[in-house]
Structures are given as C-alpha cells and as structure tokens.
C-alpha cells in the first residue's frame, strides 16, 4: 500500500469517474424526499410521493404546521408562532430555554421595529430579564437587543442616511430579515427534533461533504 505511487487524476477524468458512479434510484429519491420534507415543500413532497411511490416518513400535514409557524415568524407575528408550537408540542419551548429566549428576543425586536417602545420596555423587563438572570450567558445578547432602543431606526419612509444616529452594524443586523430567518430556522429544527426527525436535510450535507473532499484532493 505505502509503496504504491499516489494516483493522480485530472479534473476531467475525475468528472468522468463521478458520472460512472451508480446511485441507486431509490436512494436518490429518498434523499430528495428528505430534503423536501425538512425544508417544508409540502406540495412538492406530495407530488414527488405520487410520482415515485415513495411514502414520506412523516405525514404531510405536519409539514404544513411547520410552514405556518415559519411564515408567522417571517411576518413578525411571534405570538402566533409560539401559540402554534405549543399546540404542536407543549414541551418544545419548556425544554429549550435558548430557543425560547430567541423567540422572546424576536418579539422584542418586532416591538421595537413597530416603535412600540413602552411595550418593548415592559416586555423586556417582564419576560427577558428573568431569562437573562437564569442563564447569564444570554445577557450579552439581551444587551445587544436593548441597544436597538438607543439608536434611530431606519424607517422605510425616510432613507437610512437621514437617521440622526444610525445603529452600528452588529446591532442593526438584528432588524434584518436574516435575523428572522435565523429564529425561524432554529424553531423549525426544534420542531423537527421533537418529531424525531433529522433537523438538517441530508442532501446539502452530502454536497458540502463532497465539496470539502474535492477541495482536499485539489491541494
């Protein structure tokens, strides 16, 4: 083994070899189904199931539940999302304090965004402060969120440049859509875990793994 000369493959050759690898059609279908289910493409999953004769391992109604919850967060209705999660499984939020904190944080962000400052302050004192006390590691994150109150918010009516005191990027980023997506993703993963589902689709994982492997080979 050790004496053998390392095998060197050109890129083209590599591609060719890759194409020669036979992937079981059934396995491939499963991977696709896994992706569709976890990412919440309910209709596509139903259609795919019909075409391939593959049964998803979950009932498709549960996909819909998750998507409704995700949508609620994305439009800023955290309360609605919390209600639905509790309907689905009342232990999720009780058992993952970090997730619960992030949802509450998102709610605080939405209150600030809506400029309901009084409510925001009350909510922070009433709900978020106790969480911070319980889990000191959450305090920096809470501070960052509260910092939003100190700055002028970029409003849609006026351009950002007119704001007298714009928030520094790491604070302002809390208002960005990606923050919502992050929270929604975290919640989605928690729901999946509670349903004994993998929380990451396998397909992208494998692609990442392959890309990493190819990178390694290239050097």
């Amino acid at each position: 083994m050790a004496a053998r000369k390392p095998l060197v493959l050109g890129v083209a050759e590599w591609e060719k070899k890759l194409n020669e690898v036979h992937v079981n059609k059934d396995d491939l279908n499963r991977l696709v189904m896994d992706y569709l289910v976890i990412e919440g493409y309910k209709d596509a999953a139903a259609r795919f199931s019909l075409e391939t004769g593959l049964r998803p391992q979950v009932d498709l109604a549960s996909i819909e539940d998750r998507m409704t919850i995700r949508a609620a967060i994305e439009r800023g209705d955290v309360e609605e999302a919390i209600g639905r999660v509790n309907e689905l499984d009342p232990e999720i939020l009780d058992n993952s304090p970090l997730l619960f904190f992030h949802l509450q944080q998102q709610r605080l962000i939405e209150l600030i965004r809506a400029n309901r400052i009084g409510e925001a302050l009350h909510f922070a004192a009433e709900e978020l402060a106790p969480r911070g006390e319980e889990y000191p590691e959450l305090l920096p994150e809470l501070e960052r969120t509260m910092a939003l109150l100190a700055f002028d918010l970029p409003s849609s009516s006026s351009t950002a440049s007119t704001a007298a005191l714009p928030a520094p990027p790491h604070v302002a980023s809390l208002l960005s859509p990606s923050q919502k997506l992050k929270t929604a993703g975290e919640l989605n993963a928690a729901i999946l875990a509670s349903q004994s589902q993998g929380s990451d689709p396998k397909l992208p994982q494998m692609l990442r793994m392959m890309a990493w492997g190819e990178d390694l080979l290239r050097t």
Partner: protein, 982 residues
C-alpha cells in the same frame, strides 16, 4: 402582560377556551409566569377544569388544555410548585380524566389520541418532577441533595431572584390572590415551616406514585400503549437487518421485506406481510390524516407512558410514612418491604397485555413493509417495538423503562429473553445493534440497559466488553445535553465493572487498544472541577470567553457537580479490588487526581461528597496508597470533619454520606495508626460513639461500630480505656445482647423509621456481631486487657453471663464465631482468667458445642479455645499473671473472683482444663474431628489430640510445642479482619 383570569363557570365556553390558550402560551417557557400563576392560588381551579362535564361540547379541549398547563407547571418545577400541584390532587384528576376518555367510544381517533396524549404528557411531567424531588436519579445520581437545595442559592432550584420560591407559594390560596406576591411572602413566612412542607411533599409524592401504580389505575395508563401498532422508521431498517444477518449468520436478501418474511416464518404470531399495494398510490391516505400520523401520535403516547413508569417504578410508595401521618388506604402499606412492593409492581406491568386495555384500539392501514402485529401484544413486546422504532424519543423512553425493569432483577430479564422484537431479533441482539444508532441518547439508553442486564444474567465476557466499549465511547460525547450523557455513561460504567475484577482490569487497560477509563474519567473530573471553580470564583468575561459553552448558568454548574459525582463513583467501582488500578488513579494521571478527590470531600454537593468518600474508601483498601498518598493528601482530617458535621439532617441522603464516611474511616483507622490519633484528638471518636449509640440509620450505626472495632484492633490499653470511657460498657453490653433484648426505647425508635430504612434483622445481627468483635478486640492480647474488660463489664461473672447468653441465643453463626473468639482470647489470659472460664459450666458446654458446630470457623475457634486453656503456663507468664491479676483486683475493687485464683497452684490449671473438658465430652468430639474434611480443623484437632490422650500434660515436652503454639496462637487470637462490608 398579566395572566388571564381563569373563569370557573362555563357559560362562555369559547371565551374559556381562549383564556386557557392564552394562559398556556404565557406560562410555557417562563418560570416567572409559572410561579406567578401558582402564587395566585390558581392551580386548584385548573385541576377542577380537568373534571369539566363531558357533556360540554368543549370539554375535551378544556381538559386537554388544563392538563397541558399543569404539565408545563410541573416541568422542572420548584418544590413549592410541585407541592401545590400534588396538594390539588392533580395526578388523581388526570387519571380520572383518562378513564373518562376510555369510556368514550364515539370519539374520532384523532381527537381521542390528542386527549390521551395531553393527559399522559401532563402525568409524565408531574411524575418526573416527583421522582427528581424525592429520590436520587438512577441515571444522574444523588445530586446536590435535598438539604443543599434549600441552603445554597447556586443550585438549580433557587433560580431567579424574582421567582417566588419559598414554601409560602404552595400555601397561597384564593383568598390571598389579591395581595401582591411580596405581601404574601411576609404573611406566609411565619406560617410555613420548611421541613414540614418538604416532608409533606415527599409523602404526597409517594402517595401519587402509589396511586398511579395501583391495580385500579394501572390499566388506564398501560392501556394507551396498545392503541395502535408501533411504526418503524426506515432509518433503523438497515441496522436491524445487519444485526439479524449476524444473528442468523445466514445470507439474507437486501430487501427489508425478506427479513419480515424470515421472522414470520419463525413461528411467531406474525403473519406474512399483507400489503395493500393499492395504498401505495393512495394519495388520500397520505395527504389526509393518514394512519401514519395516528400511529406516530400513539407512539408519542407510548413515550409518555414509558416515561412515567421509568421515573417512578423504583420508588416505593408512602408505606409506613403514610400510616404514621394517619393516612390509611395506601396499598403500599400492605407490603412487607419496599423490595416486595416494587417486585409486585414489576409483575403487574409485565403481566399486562392488550386484552387488559380499557381503550379501544384504532384501525390502521399497515404499511407495505410491515408484518401484521401480534394478536395480543404484551407490555414487553410494545416496549421492544418502541425501542427499535427508529423514532429516537420513543426509543429512548422505552429503553430507559426496560433499563429500570431489569435493574437488579434477574426474573424480568428472563421474561425479556422470552420475547422477540417485531423485527425478529432477540432483545439483546437488538440492544447491541443500537450501538450504531446515530442518536447519542438512544445509544446511552440501550447500553445502560445492557449494563443492567449483564449484571443480572450471565453473559460472555465478550458481551460485557462490547457494552463497556460503547459506554466508554459515550464519555467522549460532549456535544449533547451539557454533560448529561457523560454523567449517565459514567454511572453505567460503574455498574458494569462493579464486583467484576476482570472487567475492572479491562476498563483500565492502557496502550493503543486499551479503554483508558482512568485517564478519560480523570480528564472529565478535572474538566468539571475547572467549570465549577471558574463558575464560582469569578464570573468574569474572561472565563466566559475561553469556555463559551461552559458559562456560569446554574444548569451547567449542576451538571458539573453531577459529573464529578458520576466520575468519582465510576473510579471507586474500578478501584475496588485491584491494587494496580488504585496506583493508576493515585500516581498515573496528569494532573494528579488525588487533590481533586480530596477537594470533592468538601464539595457543596452531597452526591459528590458521598462519591468521593466511596472512592477514598476504595483507595484505602490498598495499604500502600493509604499510608502514603491518602494521608499526605489530608484525607483523614476531612473525613473526621465530615462525620462531625452537625448540620446534616436525619434523612436518607445524609445518612448515605455518613455511612460512606464512616466506612472510609474504618479502613483508615485499621492500618494507619496516626489516623487513630487524628480521630481521638479531633473529637471524631466522640462523634463515632454518638453515632453508634443514637444513630437510627442501621448501616451508619454499623459502620460506626465497625470503625471503633478497628480502632481497638491491636491497640494499646490506653486507647481501649479512652474508647470505652466514651462508649460505655453498658452500651456495648446492650448492643452485644442483640435484637431480642435491646431496650424498648431503642426499638421504638427503629419503628419510627420509614420502612425502607428500618434496620432489618440482618442488620441488627451485624450490629451484634460487631459488638462481640469489639469485645474480642478489647480482650486481646494481654492479661491486662482481659482484666480491664472483665472489670468493665462488672466482673467475670457478669461478663461470662453475657457471652453465654449470646452463645445460647444461637442467632447467627457469625455472632457465635465472634463470641467463641472472645472465649479464645480470655483463655490466653493469666491463671485467674483461665480458671474463671473453666469454672463456668455453661462455657465448657459452649466450647464443646463450638467444636461440634457445623461451621468450620466456629469449630476452629472452639479448638483454639481448648488449645489455650490446656496450654502449660510458663514461669514468666505466671509472674505476669500475678502482676496483672493484682492490678485487676485493684480496678475491680471486689475480690470475689480473685479469691478463686489462689486456691490451687497455677500449674494445675491446664490439667484441670483437660479433666473438666473431658467430663463435658470434649475428647469424643475431638476424635471425630481428626477426620474432618476441613484441613484447618483437622490440623488443629491433631495438634490437640496429644493433650487428651495422655492423662497428664507433659510439661517437659511442651516447651517445643509451646513455642510453636504460641506463635500460632497469635493467629488464634487474631482479631477483626479488615472491613469488607460492601
């Protein structure tokens, strides 16, 4: 945001539902809201809502929501909250509601499952909370201890400053709801009493356990297990198939369906998979509320039910506690012992099958890859199906229940082996196959279960090693559960190696193929200790930056404490028998573990202290380690401090600590003389004496006596005097007389204990045995010692009366053996002692009885006794005897026994012994012993036979045998062996 008010009337049903939903969403996740709700005294209302008349259209929804809220309140609740829930009799209301659901057959499947699920979920929450409140967790150990939870604010239970956490919260009722919580705090502080609330909670908790396991309630809990066939996720198919291939060692086709066919052809109640192939394409079945959704919901119910029973299976009901509190009707009171109670429960669970279920099963379409379910599934078959279902949460829960069922129970394991899993595997093959499961939690549960199984059932060494290998790997799993996995894995490793020297050695193997348990556990101990010091010392941002995942939250701290406890327990189990492992722990690790272990002896967490004591005790079994490392590390002082700790209460947990500490002291005082001085100087002896006198906890009392016995072993007369001046001969006499004659006062005390703690007959015999061993050590090994002892007991007559009394009780051979050695030692005394013994007819009878005793050890003692009695007295001995008996006379102050001494010449004593013994028929017994199968007995008998053959003792010839006998008589008077108590 304020909490919505609960309406008791159901006029506005829709409004009531909305309120409940708002309330649910407010309390879930928020400790503050939960506490607020409890303080406002609303828990009883919620419990009332569980009994909403079923005629009401929204009744089921109202009941489900109330159950969900109750469950959330109980989820990692503070003790007062739990007390409040139990006082409101929530478990009883929940089981009643469950019975109502069983009686409603007209419900839709989905509705029914939903109703059952919310009820059993709430029950699980409550029972898990009860279990963690009243008993140490079998998985996570003793933890901080009940007392500590109240004392130190760093523990998990006193969480947030604004969360009302005092007991007053539990006694809040509706009248007070108007007051603010701070008013309540003051008004209730003086009324509520911590200890009574806490013991009340224990009582209510145990009653609730009793309730749920009673034969009347059990069917409503177990019935839901059989609602629908357990589904199986495709992700486990491969694993199970491989396991099956390995088990059958015959070629299998890759298709899973073939496996099902195989298993169905194996004579199980399974039929060939009946596949409704049309259902494959049946879009409606998939898109609509397909049967899969129902089956998964049913699986969730299985998960909850298994969770309830694994939490409380091993916890005895209130038993004597209840009758003491004047509550009758508890079924647990009728059991002779907690062990019997738990055995009965196990039987009830295991004997249950689908035909006993009061619930109507739902109709489902089976999937194409499945066999028909067994006609009448049993309780165990459901658990096995859930264990291999591929749905991690259900698997985990079912596995933990299996783990509890087979814990220390060979019968259950045999029952389990009679089953086959739905995939056609043997239960153990299935469990072992789960080593490849991607879920850490499932691996942990499966192999904790295996750890229990291999302890009650003979498995090959190879199997044990496979179990160990997986558990050791789990020690490296740091990602999940903040250390919970390592804690449980370390406890399971302790279980695997316990009492198994071979596995202990295997676990500690080093080198490239070794398991490196000592290094790994040591690393964890070091890591947990660092977490704690960083957490306590300064919660500076610097510490947080370096170890972000190990921030200072109470939860992490608690886990670190539990990890230390688990690791110390595992190390103690590993080092219990093997010297080289002790060496490895003491010398072979970097950083050195011993200083950490010593610091653990004064940890704030009770569990850590107990486990550290255990490890010290295991290490102290090696004299080399003891004399050098342990002593240098300052263990002795810490242990003495520990038993002197007066703040310890009288409950079970603190007793465990004292038991372990006194057990460690036993070893330390035996082979390390300076420890005796430490004990004597620091007032430790006083504490031991008071434990031996007044402690109501059997094992601790025994260990205290044991420690004293070891202090006295081969001690100077001065030490004996000191010890006895504190212990008192009267106490010793009472203990030595044994259980039948102990004072009524003491017995009354024993009976006041909860049944689980009351010393068994066995324990009182052990106390008696140790007391006699103390007397044996007191009478060793010089005439002065004997004289001191005799006079202490009020003279030879009273002394012999006591020993004779014990011998003729014939309570236990072990007690008899110790009593026999007391006589052996007295027979080594001077002429006066020997003669006093010879003149007790009863003692001579006893000696002959010893020689004819069925137990070899007692025979040998009898022979030693005769050997010493018939020993020629040398001139030196005589002088010594004269001197000491004079001293004895002085101390006794009464010359009655002494008068006997001088009435014949000393040289006659051995001849007199031979004569008198012969009259009692000793020579006949002796002859029969010459052919004894026991080598020791035979040799002793032969050595002795010469003395009884010739009429006179050949004093001339005795000088040689004299020499030999004296040297060997050293072993004859040998005293207590080092303690080997478990």
């Amino acid at each position: 945001m304020t909490l919505p008010q609960l309406r008791r009337t159901s006029d506005d049903v829709e409004g009531q539902l909305q309120e409940l939903i708002r309330l649910r969403n407010a309390v879930i996740g928020s400790r503050t809201k939960k506490a607020e709700f409890v303080v406002e005294g609303k828990v009883p209302h919620l419990v009332e809502l569980l009994a909403t008349p079923i005629a009401n259209p929204t009744a089921l929804q109202v009941r489900s929501l109330s159950a969900t809220i109750l469950g959330s309140l109980a989820n990692s609740s503070s003790s007062p909250t739990l007390l409040c829930i139990l006082t409101a009799e929530a478990p009883q209301a929940l089981t009643t509601a469950l019975a109502d659901v069983a009686s409603l057959n007209a419900l839709q499947d989905g509705e029914r499952l939903k109703a059952i699920e919310s009820l059993v979920r709430a029950l699980r929450s409550i029972y898990v909370a009860i279990a963690s409140e009243i008993a140490p967790s079998p998985r996570l150990g003793l933890g901080p201890g009940r007392a500590a939870a109240g004392k130190s604010a760093s523990m998990l239970r006193a969480k947030i400053s604004r969360e009302p956490a005092g007991w007053y919260t539990a006694s809040a009722d509706v009248k007070m709801a108007s007051g603010s919580s701070s008013d309540l705090r003051t008004s209730f502080k003086k009324h509520s009493d911590d200890t009574s609330s806490s013991s009340n909670l224990v009582l209510l908790g145990r009653s609730a356990i009793d309730h749920i396991l009673s034969p009347e309630v059990l069917p409503f809990l177990l019935g839901p297990l059989f609602l629908a066939p357990i589904p199986r996720h495709e992700r486990v198919h491969e694993t199970l198939r491989e396991a099956k291939a390995a088990a059958n060692s015959r070629p299998t086709t890759p298709a899973y369906a073939a496996v099902v066919m195989n298993s169905s052809s194996r004579g199980q109640d399974m039929e060939t998979a009946s596949v409704a192939s049309s259902s494959r394409m049946d879009m409606d079945a998939q898109m609509g509320d397909g049967s899969m959704a129902l089956r998964k919901q049913a699986l969730t119910i299985v998960e909850m039910v298994a969770g309830i029973f694994s939490a409380c299976l091993g916890l005895p009901g209130p038993g004597i506690l209840a009758s003491k509190a004047g509550k009758s009707g508890s079924s647990s009171a009728s059991f002779a012992s907690p062990a019997q109670e738990i055995a009965t429960r196990r039987r009830h669970l295991i004997d249950f099958n689908a035909s006993g279920s009061p619930f109507q099963a739902i109709e489902v379409n089976l999937q194409d890859t499945e066999a028909e379910p067994i006609a009448t599934p049993s309780f165990l078959s459901i658990l096995l199906a859930a264990a291999e279902s591929g749905y991690p949460k259900a698997q985990e829960s079912a596995l933990w229940l299996l783990c509890e069922l087979v814990r220390d129970n060979a019968d259950t394991s045999v029952q389990l082996f009679r089953h086959q899993t739905p995939s056609g595997l043997l239960p153990t093959s299935m469990l072992l196959a789960l080593r490849n499961d991607p879920s850490v939690a499932v691996r942990l549960a499966a192999f904790s279960c295996m750890a229990n199984l291999i302890k009650v059932h003979p498995f090959t060494a190879k199997t044990s090693e496979r179990v160990l290998a997986v558990l050791v790997d789990l020690l490296d799993e740091s990602s999940q559960g903040g250390g919970e996995v390592q804690v449980a894995a370390a406890f399971a490793i302790a279980k695997v190696v316990e009492d198994d020297p071979r596995m202990q050695a295997v676990a500690c193997t080093q080198g490239p193929f070794g398991y490196h348990c000592v290094e790994k556990l040591g690393g964890l101990l070091d890591q947990a200790t660092k977490t704690l010091t960083e957490g306590n010392g300064s919660s500076t941002s610097k510490a947080k930056l370096t170890v972000p995942s190990m921030a200072t939250s109470a939860r992490n701290q608690e886990m670190a404490h539990r990890l230390r406890e688990a690791v110390l327990t595992a190390l103690a189990a590993l080092s219990f028998t093997r010297d080289e492992i002790r060496r490895q722990i003491v010398d072979g690790t970097t950083p050195s573990l011993l200083p950490i272990v010593v610091s653990c002896l004064s940890s704030s967490s009770l569990g850590t202290r107990v486990a550290a004591c255990r490890l010290v005790r295991a290490l102290s079994r090696s004299i080399g380690v003891l004399r050098t490392s342990l002593v240098d590390a300052g263990v002795a002082e810490k242990l003495v401090e520990m038993i002197k700790d007066e703040t310890l209460g009288e409950d079970g947990e603190d007793d465990e600590l004292r038991t372990q500490a006194t057990a460690s002291i036993c070893n330390l005082v035996l082979s390390f003389a300076p420890m005796r001085q430490t004990l004597l100087d620091n007032g430790g002896l006083d504490r031991l004496v008071s434990l031996a006198k007044t402690c109501t906890h059997g094992p601790t009392k025994l260990n205290a006596l044991w420690a004293m016995k070891n202090v006295l072993y081969a001690s100077e007369l001065e030490v004996k005097r000191t010890v006895m001046s504190k212990l008192g001969f009267d106490t010793l006499e009472a203990l030595a007389r044994g259980p039948s004659s102990s004072t009524s006062n003491e017995r009354g005390r024993d009976e006041a204990l909860p049944s689980s703690l009351s010393p068994s007959n066995e324990n009182s015999l052990a106390l008696q045995e140790n007391s006699l061993n103390i007397i044996r050590n007191l009478t060793s090994s010089r005439a002065g010692d004997i004289a001191f002892t005799l006079s202490g007991f009020g003279g030879a007559t009273r002394f012999f009366e006591l020993i004779e009394h014990v011998i003729w009780q014939r309570q236990s051979d072990l007690v008899t053996e110790q009593a026999a050695y007391v006589l052996v030692n007295v027979a080594t005394g001077d002429v006066s002692h020997r003669r006093a013994l010879l003149r007790r007819n009863n003692c001579l009878d006893a000696i002959v009885y010893f020689a004819g005793h069925p137990r070899a050890e007692v025979k040998v003692a009898g022979l030693w006794c005769v050997m010493n009695l018939t020993q020629g007295v040398s001139a030196a001995q005589q002088q010594q005897a004269a001197a000491s008996s004079a001293a004895a006379m002085q101390t006794e102050g009464a010359g009655q026994e002494a008068a006997d001494v001088d009435d014949s010449t000393p040289f006659d004593v051995e001849r007199e012994a031979v004569g008198r013994l012969r009259r009692y028929g000793f020579d006949g017994v002796l002859r029969s012993l010459l052919t004894s199968p026991d080598a020791d007995v035979k040799d002793r008998a032969r050595a002795l036979s010469g003395r009884f053959e010739t009429k006179t003792v050949a004093t001339g010839a005795s000088s040689i045998s004299n020499e030999r006998q004296r040297s060997s008589s050293g072993t004859g008077t040998a005293q207590a062996a080092p303690p080997a108590a478990a």
